[in-house]
Assembly symmetry: C2
Homo-oligomer: 179 residues x 2
């Protein structure tokens, strides 16, 4: 299963830190790729720097024709739109996990108000609670429940920095600079 | 069990949106209170507006003497510091959930580099993966695993707006203005 995240409606300066958190959360929790619908050099650089130091093949792409992207994606997978108006995640998650065994998943997270079409294009509109909170939190919980903790401590290829989980403080492994 | 969240090291303008997301995530996922260590009117107003419309008793407080606050808290509960350098959440969570049956929990999430003392004051330093991502995501996943989905759709007292989870689109219930 390939998991991609589509960040809809990023509003430049106002959203740059939240959007960076969305992208890094996608990567850390096990997604393979994030798609933005507008260019943002700041976000792109932050994400690329993390990939360079911490490894793995997480992709950052900009795709202005997002409707077309969603339609194309549906040929190989399902589209899950995270929205506070959607179905109860506690009830719908087993079904999505079942489907994910042999289909890819595109997760859509909006910044501002999301066009009505998105609700219609999505195979699932899923809510992570029905209180206002954070698209970063919604994405994190969705991916955590999808992967059930299996992706959190996986190894990233070609990492220059690694951290070893420890109760007692920092254990950081750095690649030697001069090798 | 009472759950409180201590947001350490909020850096004004730079962090205002992330800190707001931290606070709203705490509320939506089941925490009772958030403690900031510096004043921020923007964040405070955003949180208070949400509480006013969406109900419940979520508290927003500013506590400059956070070391003292942590020490006092330890008399009635445990302190969990979320950090990418901590113990594996997959392994440590059952133990924390067990303790939470009869103790309160203070969850610490840092913005910038966290003083070394925090690692020592905490009963648990817990990592949510060991890749750089987001304190919003870390808090969301920790609380989701602590409450196991039970808090996500709970009712908030005195809510003026409510959303009913629905697969097919928006179902919003608003309190009548003129009652």
């Amino acid at each position: 299963m390939v998991v991609e995240v589509l960040r809809l409606g990023h509003r430049g300066d106002r959203d740059k830190r939240i959007s960076t958190h969305v992208a890094l959360t996608a990567r850390a929790l096990g997604a393979d790729k994030i798609i933005f619908t507008t260019e943002d050099e700041h976000v792109e650089n932050s994400v690329k720097k993390v990939v360079e130091s911490w490894g793995g093949n997480f992709e950052f792409v900009v795709e202005k024709h997002w409707r077309k992207y969603i339609r194309e994606f549906k040929k190989r997978g399902i589209v899950v739109h995270l929205t506070m108006y959607g179905a109860n995640i506690n009830e719908i998650m087993p079904e999505i996990r079942e489907i994910s065994r042999d289909k890819d998943i595109l997760v859509i997270v909006g910044a501002e108000k999301v066009p009505k079409e998105v609700y219609e294009l999505a195979d699932y509109n899923v809510s992570v609670g029905n209180q206002p909170h954070s698209e970063v939190a919604a994405l994190a919980i969705f991916l955590d429940r999808l992967f059930e903790g299996k992706t959190l401590y996986r190894d990233f290829e070609d990492a220059k920095i690694k951290i070893v989980p420890s109760k007692d403080g920092k254990v950081v492994i750095r690649e030697k600079q001069n090798k």
